[in-house]
């Protein structure tokens, strides 16, 4: 680049009023340099010295009092412009607020689950998780295996274990269910969380509980009044301490526990878990000793696995093929993968929503800039530069995005509960966005808005011509493109609305489905067995008597498990007359332990026989579903009995086929055994009632007298529980409906902007129409017909996208066709109404066009 060209380039940053003199000054010296015999520098080197001089001139220009007045004046004008159009400004602020809030919540979610370790844990980088492999599906261990592993790893690490469970705290009508964790005695030492207000040491063999700081604050007075004892699962339990404030456990993907129970406390009702090596229920963590690497821990774990397996054949089946060590805590590996996948989806969706939102905002601003063309022309005529005019518009946009960011902060905080409810897994850590997440989102919103605004606003500033002063307008020329984009937006909104509607109908249908037994009018009472001294038979009888005495209760039943609630237990049996070596000779039966009332409550239809007459019958009797019976005894003439490890079981009855595990799956082969014969305390009580009032409260009260033996934890309508068996559908429905709400808002804003521009462009046409005798209503009709056409095109486009989307998510639907005409029709009508509502304002303005002003000739 030659010296003169450099000087010309640099002169662009010198203020205009000084530019000519500056350039001449340097060119004069450059000429003298070239003409001199003893040049102190080459022309190029000499011209480089112009860089700091040009910068000095530029900075001096900005420091000029006239320039400062310009900036403050532009800010004041921008503020007034925002206030003069309150509707559009409020809409812009809301759009930016919602878009930035969504991004803020997503950033907070990613930060809480993937980037930050759970709070209050000391030196979290020294912690690791250990369990049965593979690493991607790290699995838990049994209590005896945890103890053996802790001994084996003692040279390199300290090991502890925990398990999630619920606990019933309090007694009688005041009993509540809280989230808790069972922990080994070393747990708080391993995680480095101090325990205050007590000895702080849990013991495996003795009952004891450490409270969370939040629970302690809520219940301090009553716990102190009780001498620092608290009723847990109906048994008085000593409080040994309070965990440090903010500690919520080591896993982000769990419910925040209210307390940590010793193994002795938790296993009072389930002593077998302490000794059963095959019963894996504890998640295991560890802390490396100082100076020990994670690789050393992995090697030690591998060595421990080999040694333990060699020592006892019992270990082989229960320790898996390998013990895997995963660095860090916070999320289990499977949850981490799922969280990362969901986070990517959330971030992509949130950024897309924000970009589309801001594009709409820029469109609104462009419309306002075009509307202000006469004022712009006046300012140009008075000497304002294009850069200054663009600066004013950008200031308007920045004021709106800053205001929108403040709204985003409020919205983001209030959306925290919604985000938590939308996730398919619980989260213990706080999801409230911190100021860092908010700053990132606000900065992105402002930067994207600024970047999107520069070019279109600069183009709009060109409209400040003499023609604009006289009332004519240069046609923007891109209104068809923006109209097409708005049509696409409306179509996408319709698709999301339709998809959300289909999913919502699926959830409703799941609650109304007929799984082969009657669920309407049935309440399910979840019970927690406690350590009372009475026999199971006495407790069962008492439950039935007390529940049956409530007015309006028509039938009562007991069960160890209820279909769709509390998981399923299966047992593999061998076909009669076979050895079972061939897989085809084995049948997997879903088993339930129930009483006779169970069948009455659910009105289970019997094909043959009935419930066992006596629970003490020998051989034992059970009821089978038809599909199970057909599989076990294809020859109906042969006796129907089954040989199991615990003895022969006779089929006392066969029910019709039922779906007992999945609403979408085939009929379930199942076996119903008498609960009386199992000796188990029931975990569920079901009642049938025609009452619509609060029977649940009466049930809780009536059963509270049994708190020494069983504790009521929940009472819920059975259809609601069945509907909740479709978690993927529920999550997808919430996401689709919430995104559709945002998309509709954006589409309305976009359509409003485009129709406003179209109305301005056709102002003369409308003026001519009115001058020739057309009524304002007819002019409004012209505009609305065009919008109706856009809405119809959007419906066609949206219908095609809806068909593709609903076919792709067929597995999430239930009881409704992917091409449901009712949903399609309702969505189409909704899109038309939305479009007409968005365009009504600009259409009315078209009807109020002034024919005289429109017909005034330009120039």
């Amino acid at each position: 680049m030659n010296a003169d060209r450099l000087l010309r380039l640099l002169s662009r940053i010198v203020p205009a009023e000084r530019r000519a003199d500056w350039l001449e000054r340097w060119r004069g010296e450059l000429w003298a340099l070239a003409a001199s015999e003893r040049a102190p520098a080459t022309p190029a080197r000499f011209a480089l010295g112009a860089i700091p001089d040009a910068w000095h001139e530029c900075a001096a220009g900005w420091r000029d009092a006239a320039a400062l007045d310009g900036i403050s004046g532009d800010l004041r004008r921008a503020w007034r412009a925002v206030w003069r159009a309150p509707g559009a400004s409020l809409l812009t602020v809301l759009i930016v607020g919602v878009g930035a809030a969504a991004l803020t919540n997503v950033i907070a979610l990613v930060d809480a689950t993937l980037l930050r370790t759970p709070p209050a844990i000391a030196r979290a980088d020294e912690l690791f998780q250990i369990g049965r492999g593979p690493a991607s599906e790290l699995d838990n261990l049994s209590y005896p295996n945890v103890r053996d592993l802790a001994d084996a790893l003692r040279p390199v690490a300290s090991v502890a274990a925990y398990a999630d469970r619920s606990a019933v705290v309090g007694a009688g009508a005041n009993a509540i269910v809280v989230a808790a964790q069972v922990v080994t005695p070393e747990f708080f030492d391993v995680v480095g969380v101090p325990v205050h207000n007590g000895p702080g040491k849990l013991s495996d063999g003795e009952p004891g509980v450490v409270l969370s700081h939040r629970f302690w604050i809520e219940r301090r007075q009553e716990i102190d009044a009780a001498g620092r004892w608290i009723a847990v699962d109906g048994q008085p339990t000593p409080v040994v301490g309070v965990a440090a404030e903010g500690f919520v456990g080591v896993q982000a993907s769990s419910v925040e526990p209210a307390m940590w129970l010793s193994v002795g406390t938790a296993l009072r009702a389930e002593p077998l878990r302490r000794s059963e090596r095959g019963w894996s229920w504890l998640w295991t963590i560890g802390r490396r000793h100082p100076g020990v690497t994670i690789e050393a821990v992995s090697a030690a774990a591998a060595s421990a696995h080999s040694e333990l397996v060699t020592r006892s054949a019992l270990h082989e089946g229960t320790l898996g093929s390998a013990l895997v060590v995963v660095d860090g805590v916070g999320l289990r590996p499977a949850d981490r993968t799922e969280a990362a996948r969901l986070s990517r989806l959330f971030v992509a969706a949130a950024v897309l929503v924000l970009v589309v939102a801001l594009a709409n905002v820029v469109g609104l601003q462009l419309t306002r800039a075009i509307a202000a063309a006469p004022a712009t022309a006046m300012m140009r005529a008075l000497g304002a530069s294009r850069a200054r005019l663009v600066r004013g518009r950008v200031f308007e946009l920045l004021i709106l995005t800053v205001a929108g960011s403040l709204v985003a902060w409020t919205v983001a905080w209030s959306m925290t509960s919604f985000v938590r409810a939308t996730l398919p897994y619980p989260i213990a850590v706080s999801l409230r966005p911190e100021w860092r997440a908010f700053l990132v989102a606000a900065a992105m919103a402002t930067a994207i808005a600024g970047a999107l605004a520069i070019v279109p606003l600069a183009r709009a500033s060109r409209l400040g011509s003499i023609a604009s002063l006289a009332g004519g307008l240069a046609i923007a020329g891109r209104s068809r493109i923006t109209l097409a984009l708005v049509t696409l937006q409306l179509g996408v909104s319709g698709t999301l609305l339709g998809v959300g509607g289909l999913l919502a109908r699926s959830i409703w249908a799941a609650g109304a489905v007929d799984p082969g037994f009657e669920t309407r009018g049935v309440l399910v009472v979840t019970l927690r067995p406690s350590m009372g001294g009475r026999s199971a038979a006495a407790v069962r009888a008492d439950l039935i008597q007390r529940a049956g005495a409530i007015a309006g209760v028509d039938a009562v039943g007991l069960a160890s498990r209820v279909p769709y609630v509390g998981g399923a237990e299966t047992r593999t049996v061998t076909l009669p007359g076979t050895t079972g070596e061939n897989p085809e000779d084995r049948v997997r039966l879903t088993t339930f332990a129930v009483d006779a009332g169970f069948f009455d409550v659910l009105r289970v239809p019997f094909v043959s026989g009935g419930v066992p007459v006596s629970a003490d019958a020998m051989p034992a009797a059970a009821v089978f579903t038809r599909i199970a019976a057909d599989r076990l005894w294809p020859d109906a003439t042969r006796p129907r009995h089954l040989d199991t490890p615990s003895g022969r079981v006779q089929a006392s009855g066969v029910t019709a086929d039922m779906q007992l595990r999945s609403l979408r799956g085939p009929a379930t082969p199942a076996m119903f055994m008498p609960i009386e014969a199992t000796g188990e305390k029931p975990r569920y009580l079901i009642v049938r009632t025609a009452r619509r009032d609060d029977v649940a409260g009466e049930l809780r009260l009536a059963l509270s007298a049994l708190n020494g033996d069983v504790i009521v934890t929940r009472v819920e309508p059975y259809p609601q529980l069945i509907a909740a068996s479709l978690p993927d559908t529920q999550v997808a429905a919430r996401l689709a409906l919430s995104f559709s709400a945002v998309a509709v808002m954006l589409s309305m804003a976009g359509l409003y902007a485009v129709v406003s521009r179209r109305v301005m462009e056709r102002r003369r046409e409308f003026g001519v129409r009115l001058a020739l005798g057309a009524t304002p209503a007819s002019v409004v009709g012209v505009v609305m017909r065009e919008v109706l056409l856009v809405a119809i095109l959007a419906c066609v486009l949206g219908g095609a996208m809806f068909a593709a989307a609903s076919a792709a998510m067929r597995q999430l639907l239930f009881g409704v066709s992917p091409f449901d005409l009712q949903t399609l029709a309702a969505t189409g009508a909704g899109i038309v109404i939305i479009a007409l509502a968005a365009a009504s304002g600009p259409a009315r303005r078209a009807g109020r066009s002034d024919p005289a002003a429109a017909l005034r000739p330009p120039g």
């Binding site: 001449e24 000054r25 340097w26 060119r27 004069g28 010296e29 000429w31 003298a32 340099l33 003409a35 001199s36 003893r38 102190p40 520098a41 080197r45 000499f46 011209a47 480089l48 010295g49 112009a50 860089i51 700091p52 001089d53 000095h56 001139e57 001096a60």
Partner: protein, 101 residues
């Protein structure tokens, strides 16, 4: 208000005081680069320490070249230069005294 000037500025002012009115001459006299001389002259002109004047256009037009700008110290510029030189002498004297001790 008195203006304190630095060493480079004082060098440039000294060159101006010796009659070197054009930036190029100052560059030759002081050995300072154009990126130091011209911005300093611009700042000094804005501060009132230096007065700049365009040469006669007729002369430049006759020679078919751009005009050059000629600089000279104002009274305030002379004062600032004198004060700076005094300051530098005191600094140099103090350094020599310390070196001998």
């Amino acid at each position: 208000m008195r203006t304190r000037i630095g060493f480079a500025t004082a060098t440039i002012f000294e060159a101006l005081a010796r009659g070197n009115g054009f930036g190029l001459d100052i560059m030759r006299e002081t050995g300072l680069p154009s990126g130091t001389v011209y911005p300093t002259l611009s700042r000094a002109e804005a501060s009132g320490l230096v007065r700049g004047k365009w040469e006669a256009r007729r002369q430049a037009d006759l020679e078919a070249r751009p005009r050059r700008r000629y600089y000279e110290l104002t009274a305030a510029g002379h004062t600032a230069l004198a004060e700076a030189l005094t300051r530098f002498r005191e600094l140099a004297g103090g350094h020599r005294a310390r070196s001998r001790s």
